[in-house]
């Protein structure tokens, strides 16, 4: 069996569900049929009578002053309806997730390669493309500020945001920083307690989310002076909050509906085409559709922060960690995006799932003229994991210990404090997860007599018949938080309606949750079935008619919006039972809904839901707020900052062609505690998908940026794993319930993306003996030609 589920000894409660399609089952996804028929309406598929196509002119320079913009030739082109610059913006000109520092269209200067300067609406995408080319921009090109040294010396190299500029917040080119001190910190006295010390510098390249569905949407001007926007996003309400002020209209006049989303992975947290399409629709009075081509997509969304990291670990001779020190420098690029929260994660999670009595940490995000970086799956925890897990392997080697045993010796568990002082108050089976992946049987060794060359590094290129191939095995474990942190109340709203349709009880679930492929809508239907004892559940389209569902990110949607659906359904259930009490005078306290009936657990069926409900519909809305957190102290990093923690362990087996520097991952095993698998099929799919993105970061994925310019904005040059690059991924699901979470569940999506990368690099290191302090590992790192 490639997938196994291991249940915890303590189950929170026996969850009663009369339906195999309730929670814990794996019913088929409600959008699956449309998706396989090609009939599911993605944001790029939208069409409207009389629709125009929008397109942006983007800067070829990472840093320049704009001396003039001449749109006259573009406007003359037949079929062009509007050409707009920042001067045409009716409302506020800036937006941003955390700091409103980004102009909707460049004002007098550009700060990164690809920044939008002007936008065009035309009757055909080719007309729009030609019009964009006819816009004349005169630039004064400046030296881009791109290295850490340049960023930290603004007196010499300049400011990305000048101190006097709008929204500059007085920290020079540092967007955000977070320090942390735990125990005695790291001093000479503390260092003296260690028998063995390892120090290292590590680097992580800039990874792209590379979702397949390009940024796209359709803005339709409404008769009330407002706007209807159909868009692929991760958070409808925060889009509305940022777009409406730019259009100069009240939020309630901007109505958003989720269009089909072709993947997200953090890349749709920030706005892309939303404001531009709405501005053009507002100006022309016509519906405007924008669809990015792949190259524009690379410029149109933020990426994972590239990082330069210093780590130092001290341990006793028997392998107990004494102290850990780290400095993490994340390049946030031109605009803040989610950098402050990414820094908070990096600082608080950056020493891994280990008990370390003395800790020091500093994490900073720079402003630079490189592409903006923000949210990507793993969010600040990914880069650090490569650093601390590499350190664990080096420490084990130094001590002559088994790398898994060293990790287990120092692994945190329930009741242990994080370096932030927050005590982990639910299961943290770090050592056990490592043991599970270690105990998996290894794949058979390379059999040179029965080789299929397609399974070797180089695959279809027929580059080896087994010569020069060496195998290695590596392990890693990682930690990620679930939900928004540091005092943010990222609540979710759900509306549940129960009524009789065609003689059957039917539940309708309405939320603003962005279904981006993760299967949240499947889970919502499962929760409604379980709580209301019905089979038929319909999912209302996600829109801003209902309250916010927060973002589809931070592994939070099943926890937060799933929780809101549970509470709304429970409220509906309570209202229905109350109706029965009033009508029939029931006095039982053990009444539940199961199999379409209202049932007394001791006394049996009381009445059918259909008979009790009659013509009435019960329609209730509830919000789900997680337990409160607090911001980390700026200097010490102390504070109850995170809602929940999640852990994943991996084992990677690789074959390396040491002559050509090619790597084939042979197998990538994962073990993860998910609390409760509400939909095991989806949970496994999340873990396997997360592992594969981690594989990409380990051996191939990087946006190459030279002097601020992006060199590989295409799927020809930015490589993501194909099915040939991806190995079997056996998964072990551990179910140890978290008493604080709905159904005991634990967020799933990100932990494997955090943890899997270092296991692959460790395996390559074991195979080759090369240090490998930078990811992605490239052929030239392995052949010594760099």
């Amino acid at each position: 069996m490639s997938t196994r589920t291991i249940q915890g000894q303590k189950n929170l409660q026996d969850i009663r569900t009369g339906s195999p399609d309730g929670i814990g089952g794996s019913p088929l996804r409600p959008d699956g049929t449309l998706k396989v028929k090609g009939e599911f309406a993605y944001s790029s598929d939208l069409w409207h009578e009389d629709m125009l196509w929008g397109m942006a002119l983007r800067s070829p320079h990472p840093r320049a002053n704009i001396l003039s913009v001449d749109i006259s030739e573009a406007l003359k082109l037949p079929g062009v309806y509007a050409v707009l610059t920042h001067e045409d913006i009716p409302g506020t000109k800036f937006y941003g997730l955390e700091i409103q520092d980004q102009p909707a269209l460049a004002i007098d200067k550009v700060r990164y390669h690809g920044e939008a300067i002007a936008i065009v609406a035309a009757d055909h995408p080719e007309t729009a493309r030609r019009a964009v080319k006819k816009i004349k921009v005169e630039y004064e090109v400046l030296n881009p500020i791109v290295t850490e040294e340049q960023c930290l010396d603004p007196e010499t190299y300049g400011y990305v945001h000048e101190p006097h500029e709008f929204k500059s917040h007085g920290h020079g080119n540092i967007c955000h920083s977070q320090k942390l001190v735990h125990g005695g910190g790291v001093t000479d006295e503390i260092r003296a307690l260690a028998d063995v010390v390892v120090k290292g510098h590590y680097e992580v390249g800039m990874q792209d989310q590379a979702f397949l569905g390009p940024e796209s949407g359709l803005a339709v001007p409404a008769e009330d002076g407002g706007m209807d926007l159909y868009v692929a996003t991760q958070w409808l309400h925060v889009d509305r909050q940022q777009v409406a002020p730019v259009l100069g209209i009240p939020e309630e006049k901007l109505r958003l509906t989720l269009a089909g989303v072709g993947g997200a992975f953090g890349g749709r947290e920030d706005l892309s085409m939303q404001i531009h399409a709405c501005l053009l629709a507002q100006r022309t009075g016509k519906p405007v559709k924008i669809v990015y081509a792949r190259d524009e997509s690379f410029f149109g969304h933020v990426h994972r922060h590239p990082a330069k990291m210093y780590y130092e670990h001290g341990a006793t001779r028997d392998g107990k960690l004494v102290y850990a020190d780290a400095r993490l420098v994340l390049d946030g690029g031109a605009y803040a995006s989610a950098s402050p929260a990414v820094v908070g994660n990096a600082a608080s999670l950056g020493h891994g799932p280990y008990n370390i009595p003395n800790v020091r940490m500093e994490a900073i995000a720079l402003y630079s003229n490189n592409p903006s970086c923000g949210a990507m799956r793993g969010f600040g925890a990914v880069q650090a994991c490569f650093g601390y897990e590499t350190q664990m392997d080096r420490l084990a080697a130094e001590l002559g210990m088994d790398p898994v045993e060293l990790r287990q010796l120092n692994a945190m568990s329930e009741g242990d404090p994080m370096p932030t002082g927050q005590v982990i108050d639910s299961p943290a089976p770090v050592a056990r997860l490592l043991q599970i992946v270690k105990d998996r049987p290894l794949p058979p060794p390379l059999d040179l007599d029965n080789l299929d060359v397609r399974t070797l590094p180089g695959a279809l290129s027929n580059t080896s018949h087994g010569e020069g191939i060496v195998r290695g095995v590596g392990y890693s474990v990682g930690i990620k938080n679930v939900g928004f942190s540091e005092g943010f109340d990222d609540y979710s709203t759900a509306r549940v309606r129960l009524e009789v349709i065609g003689g059957e009880p039917v539940a309708m679930v309405h939320t603003a949750m962005a279904e981006v492929g993760q299967g949240g809508i499947t889970v919502h239907a499962q929760i409604a079935r379980t709580e209301l004892g019905v089979e038929q559940v319909t999912i209302h389209p996600a829109n801003t008619e209902v309250g916010s569902a927060g973002s589809t990110s931070a592994s939070r949607q099943t926890y937060m919006t799933g929780g809101a659906v549970k509470y709304a359904a429970e409220a509906v259930k309570a209202a229905l039972i109350e109706k029965g009490r009033r009508r029939y005078g029931w006095t039982q306290t053990d009444i539940i809904l199961l199999g379409g009936k209202v049932i007394s657990e001791a006394g049996g069926p009381l009445v059918s839901i259909v008979d009790l409900l009659g013509d009435e519909a019960i329609d209730l809305t509830r919000e789900h707020h997680h337990r409160p957190t607090v911001p980390f102290d700026k200097e010490t990093g102390q504070g109850f900052g995170h809602v929940q923690y999640t852990f994943c362990a991996n084992r990677a087996v690789v074959d390396v062609d040491v002559e050509l520097g090619l790597v084939k991952v042979v197998e990538l095993t994962a073990a993860q505690d998910v609390g409760k698998a509400l939909n095991p099929l989806s949970v496994v799919g999340q873990i396997q998908g997360g592992c594969t993105q981690a594989l990409g970061l380990a051996v191939m994925e990087e946006i190459i940026v030279k002097d601020g310019k992006v060199r590989n904005a295409s799927f020809t040059d930015y490589l993501i794993p194909t099915i040939l690059d991806t190995p079997p991924i056996p998964v072990d699901i551990l179910e140890l319930p978290d008493p604080n979470a709905p159904y005991g569940l634990r967020g799933v999506g990100e932990a494997p993306t955090v943890s899997a990368t270092p296991s692959i690099v460790a395996a390559i290191r074991q195979a080759t003996g090369i240090a490998l302090n930078r990811i992605p590992v490239r052929p030239e790192h392995l052949t010594g030609t760099l």
Binding site: V36, S44, D452, T455, L681, G685, Q688, F715, I723
Partner: protein
């Protein structure tokens, strides 16, 4: 220009086609068949894969004018007499669909693979699908889906013998 061709067994006609338009654009924007997807539009991702005269091609790399009088079959034409086709059903059942943007191309490519070889090995499957990128699944459930479709196809062939 005007382009006439057969799409999923029906004659279609597109007027005012600009010479630079791809078959993908004509399918999606002019003849109401948006099922084929536009993820890279340079032949790297396979999301736009369709049959052209029975051979799977990236429709983004085919100029619209090249399909004059030819036969195109898209994901919208993979059904079997109005019911979900065997490959389509297997992708749903195996959990191979997440965001689904790669799915139309994978379905056509898998259909073509199983037409050639109803019982491909795992390595054969990986080779055949290596031109189709998926960012969500890690491909494991896609492997499961192809194996399932293969098994069902063989079972069906066995039953009808």
């Amino acid at each position: 220009m005007r382009v006439t061709f057969t799409a999923n067994g029906k004659p279609v006609e597109a007027d005012d086609v600009w010479e630079g338009e791809s078959l993908l654009y004509v399918l999606r924007e002019r003849v109401g068949l948006p099922g084929s997807k536009n993820a890279c539009e340079q032949g790297e991702c396979g999301s736009c894969t369709v049959y052209l005269d029975g051979t799977p091609v990236c429709s983004c790399l085919v100029a619209a004018g090249q399909v004059q009088d030819r036969e195109v079959r898209t994901v919208e034409g993979l059904d079997e007499n109005g019911e979900l086709g065997l490959v389509q059903q297997a992708f749903i059942d195996a959990g191979a669909v997440q965001c689904g943007f790669c799915t139309p191309g994978l379905l056509v490519q898998t259909d073509a693979l199983l037409e050639q070889d109803a019982q491909p090995s795992d390595t054969d499957i990986r080779e055949a699908l290596s031109g189709n990128l998926c960012r969500c699944t890690g491909y494991e459930k896609i492997m499961d889906a192809v194996r399932l479709a293969s098994a069902r196809k063989c079972q069906k062939a066995g039953a009808s013998e």
